[in-house]
Symmetry: C2
Subunit: 499 residues, 2 copies
């Protein structure tokens, strides 16, 4: 029955007869849309991390939950790996296909099933775009809070799989904090309902376990999200500084004063200039660093907080502080920030976007070290980040056509992530581990800890058919990468070496 | 090596030689404090659910993490079950001991290890009392938000194990939403650090999985909690209604208007009168129902919200609305609510405190059904609950000395929980499953879902030594209870029948 995938290790799956898989799949699920010609497969080669590419063996585009269950049953019976893909906007290669696996595309599940304004919840299919939820809820004065920069395009299923954040997650939380229930299909095609509409659910917290699991535990078929009332008003302040360190320590000061901004973002000179060139947001191009601080809530409350933050910014040495005078200016201030990545793309042939998190108190130290690394490796680094929650997005600028630059970019990127771990942070903030950071997981966790990840994975997917080679590294991989503790020359628990 | 516990099922462990376990434990960990005399064991017979009692075989009171690890290694080597106990205030029997098991008491780990006011976090040992954290943080204008009614006595380790809530969790979240990192010892005595100080952690969400796992996955040795700035001001409104339904629908209206009160509590006539008799809080003893609504935040904001809520209460038919005029009156309003359980204890020889959660929109329906059940079974039911998040606490009044009354109380309790599930809610809000609700878990989950709980349990504790018989029922138990789907007369996956 099996197509003999069982001896595989990461990225080295044994050969498989594609034509036979295609024929068998077609007879198992006759009405399923399947793509198999090279030109039809090409658009699915990568997700938002375009540096990592691979052509899938087959792409399936199911229309019904029964078809998805059928694909999973087929894959389980025959031992064919499955990679699930939403809108393909992920930035860590979580939806990168496998040459010898099926890419399961959930984009046709794009219906909002119900909105209950009294309960403040919406039930949606996984392919619904993040922004489409807020658009549909707007009629009731409600919205869905998490807002990744890709919110126009990214879909809620992918948001759950990656536990997506956004500029407003400092105040409103990550995806996990804004969902109540997730319906999934297991690798055997069985439906499980995780969580409930109630505030808390008995038993183990399966919703939290599933959120951010990057497609390793099952396939999402429905999500119940929380909707919030739109804040009465929102104001944004823009402050310029003559040093990155001053801006960094101001962030800690604002949070330390008990103010929770809806967003608190920082950009350095290189990214300010790139964004201003691209968007004409009215940014201070001579500033060494800039903070954007949004405050939202009831009108009187916001007015009071704006005054307090403005005073703190001035006391912390801000060269200039501006409050957006109207909604158009507020939107313009944010447009510069939200387009900072493509803006940097205009000033460099290539860039490598990092994502790490550090304790806020480590901000000045880490920024200084990044500047030193930039000098050492001879590559420019633009810093754009969610300062409020310590989530860094250093963009490493390079030219892939200049020999050695891509290697140096990867080296400096790895150093930055290790630096994040060293100061007590993590190797990812909101982009996930995916394919990209699989090696850095070996620096983040020791072998004891990774074994528990493997055991949890095995509880859901004992034959590791779901998104193999992503999110959780094998112990062998970590041994090769060099960060894993090896006891007496042996990997602990070799029977767990299955991913 | 093993004391032959491996054939056990819930509550029916095979005999064990207590003296031999005691001698072996003493030689394995000579400096460990061990209680074994009947009179020394008696205080540990039950936790806050005193209807469920059992004398532990041995009680150990370790002083060091090394001793805890030693106890776990000993238990793993010899197959002795372990029940971990914090302050023993839990209300679902999660810390009820086993006659043939060791009770591991963590109360000596009561040190606050560090407070970092800039980062807004505190590192504490598991035996630190909930309120002690806020007391220590007060010097920095900070506090720990979750506030179970037992906060004077309950400890943070137990709060994490049960994912404790409190009257303020509507706005500030449950324990899970207020912790960042948990250090545990596995059943083998190995240390694992779950989560990080950063906003989000890569890999599976082990902190969430562990929170609320009721001692089934490991032993907590350290918790890093988030501290919040004390709100500038807090105001509480008290509204009386001439019907429970009117009060119930007002709750949905307030939340629907986008106001998130710091607390929104409801009491019915029976509990109002009991509380007033006990505390003299100034409650309206003739009201059929009463709402307490607390609003906190910046001063101007609170003033505006108080005015809006007051208007909504009047429009919804409140007979009387009062705003606490000063901090003393505010504290008095809350004292009545926080002491409602002991107050009811004064008007009935015994009472059975239930804990279930329902969608807010089902409040009026469920309250009507509870009144009908009360009539049918001939027992009074006092309703006291966290109305804002739909968390009910019906108190069933009975006299254990009147034959049949305790049985009837248990029957009505089970009916209420099944009603919660029927309307889309859950069998527990914040008290946990523990020993008490192990049967109701069979109504909440189907066998597919329970199997995944068993697999997660097995990932951490393959020999089910940690708190067996709590939180997750065996499939056999559910088959006996009658709510489990049996396929072709067979339990699915009998090999998982290990709890």
């Amino acid at each position: 029955m099996s197509y003999l995938y069982d001896e595989r290790v990461d990225g080295a799956l044994p050969d498989v007869d594609k034509q036979r898989v295609l024929n068998d799949l077609r007879s198992a699920i006759p009405d399923l849309k399947v793509l198999h010609e090279p030109e039809a497969l090409r658009p699915f080669e990568c997700d938002g991390l375009s540096a990592y590419r691979s052509t899938p063996m087959l792409v399936v585009l199911p229309d019904t939950i029964e078809q998805v269950a059928g694909v999973l049953r087929f894959a389980s019976q025959h031992g064919v790996p499955i990679v699930t893909r939403g809108a393909g906007t992920g930035l860590s290669g979580g939806a990168m296909p496998l040459e010898k696996g099926i890419l399961l595309v959930m984009s046709r599940f794009n219906r909002i099933l119900s909105i209950d304004p009294d309960a403040g919840i919406a039930r949606v299919q996984p392919g619904v775009r993040n922004l489409a939820i807020s658009e549909a809820a707007a009629a009731y004065g409600l919205y869905y809070a998490p807002d990744p920069s890709s919110q126009i395009a990214c879909s809620i299923g992918g948001n759950v799989a990656e536990n997506a954040g956004g500029v407003h997650c400092l105040k409103y939380g990550l995806t996990l904090h804004n969902i109540l229930q997730v319906t999934i299909l297991t690798v055997d095609g069985e439906q499980l309902v995780l969580g409930s509409e109630a505030f808390d659910s008995p038993g183990f917290d399966m919703v939290a376990l599933f959120t951010g699991s990057e497609g390793l535990l099952g396939v999402i078929t429905e999500v119940t999200v929380r909707l919030l009332s739109k804040p009465q008003c929102a104001k944004v302040l823009l402050a310029s500084f003559d040093s990155v360190e001053k801006a960094g320590s101001t962030v800690a000061r604002i949070i330390g004063a008990g103010i929770i901004p809806a967003g608190l973002e920082m950009m350095d000179n290189l990214s300010i200039r790139a964004a201003e060139d691209f968007i004409q947001a009215g940014y201070p191009v001579d500033a060494q660093a800039m903070l954007l601080c949004e405050l939202d809530g009831a009108e009187l409350d916001v007015a009071e907080d704006v005054a307090r933050v403005e005073q703190m910014l001035r006391e912390s040495g801000a060269v200039e502080v501006r409050v957006a005078q109207n909604e158009a200016e507020r939107q313009r201030f944010w447009a510069g920030r939200k387009n900072a990545f493509p803006a940097v793309g205009r000033i460099s042939p290539d860039y490598y976007c990092m994502d790490g998190t550090i304790p806020r108190r480590a901000l000045p130290k880490v920024l200084t070290r990044i500047a030193e690394l930039s000098n050492t490796y001879g590559l420019r680094v633009a810093n754009v980040f969610h300062a409020g929650d310590g989530n860094l997005h250093p963009l490493i600028l390079f030219d892939a056509n200049t020999p050695g630059e891509m290697d140096r970019a990867e080296q400096i990127g790895a150093k930055i992530l290790e630096l994040c771990v060293e100061v007590g942070g993590t190797i990812t903030g909101e982009h996930g581990v995916g394919r990209e950071k699989i090696n850095q997981m070996c620096a983040q966790f020791n072998s004891e800890e990774l074994q528990f990840f493997h055991r949890l994975k095995a509880a859901f997917d004992p034959h590791t058919l779901l998104n193999p080679g992503k999110n959780v590294p094998t112990l062998n991989r970590c041994a090769e990468f060099g960060s894993m503790h090896i006891h007496a020359g042996q990997l602990p628990h070799p029977e767990l070496e299955r991913f």
